[in-house]
Amino acid sequence: MSRPVDAEPRPPGLRGATRVLLERELDLAWSGGGGPLLACGFFACLTAVLPLAAGGDPRTLSPVAGGIAWLALALASLLSLERLFERDLEDGALDLLAIGHLPLESVVLIKALAQWIAVGLPLALTAPVAALALGLPVSLAPLAALSALIGGAGFALTGALGAALALGAKRGGLLIAVVVLPLFIPPVVFGAGALERAASGQSPAPALAFLTAYVLFAGVIAAFAGAAAVRNAQG
């Protein structure tokens, strides 16, 4: 006899599944109380240590303020990348994610989106503050926030790919950094470049355009290469 009608599974639909996974990822990212505090704390530490290391004289700091903020942004984005896939592989949740309604490619993108919201967003808000502290002209603060927001998406996507590649490796965190940092060069160059051009009076638009192009490009690569890496580690 066939199953009662109401027992037919109501597929959550792509929007539903995406929302459900995103909520779970954000909950996991912000669980344990830390939440965005961890990323901002790391950013603040970097910004505080630098003047102590290089001298507090604004003349030496302010020309590099934008660059330092972007370096701190790249390094801070590396935080908690290991959590993105490694934990799920260890406790078997990755198998569950692989047989859901959404393909693995979407799962990788949603995890990157969650990483961007959980780590990228708070960093984008902290970046201008840190840059100002290092002597960046106030007028550049909104641009610093905007470029950090866009760049953060690139870091989250390429970082997710790095996390997937490092699955099953011993020292995962360190490996992700070595694998991923060379791929972070374009966003850092375009992001810091935007600030530099704005500081010298030129329009930052081309740099921001390149930055956005990189993010879209990284999205496509991360989805396919990331899914292949996850399947490889799972199988």
Binding site: M1, P9, G32, D95, I99, G235
Partner: protein
Amino acid sequence: MIHALSLSDLTVSRGGRRLFTGLDLRLQAGEAVALTGANGAGKTSLLRTVAGLLRPDAGEIAFHDGDGNRLDDHLARGREVHFLGHQDGLKTGRTARRELGFQCDWLGHTQTGFDHAVEAFGLEPLLDLEVRRLSAGQRRRLAMGRLVGSPRALWLLDEPMAPLDARWRAVFADQMRRHLEADGLILAAVHDPLPIPARTLDLGGLA
């Protein structure tokens, strides 16, 4: 809706080691098959291959619907297959309610799916506890909740009842019986025989 599963001439290896070769199996709706064999014979690998998590060296896995034509693999696995492995796939930091909720939402549930699962496996007292605080048996019952909460035709179970005590084994046996009566299919790797009528497929102790 999966009505039949057929494996033809399946060859699977893991970590460079050939586990089995030339394996054939046909599973019809309402049937259960128990996979037996020594440790390392490839029971888990066979289940993972059917679930699409492991790529076979050779051979064919086909899912057919009621009138025999073949379903698309990704669609069938994404909508009609449950895989319950050794690990429960639960996040220790979250509460049981959220984890069961996620599992049912993620796999596609009916309106009453969540409550049905809670009632079937007596999860009511556990819902507000963090998974970290649950015992192995309780976690396994929570993981089993998704089998009931999100009705899917093909159950792939890897020693499902290992951590359960006698009482909950009987409950799970009853759930399996109901699943088979509702035209479900079960492929389970076991050490002791299944408490329901089932054919046996021995993978042969290759170890």
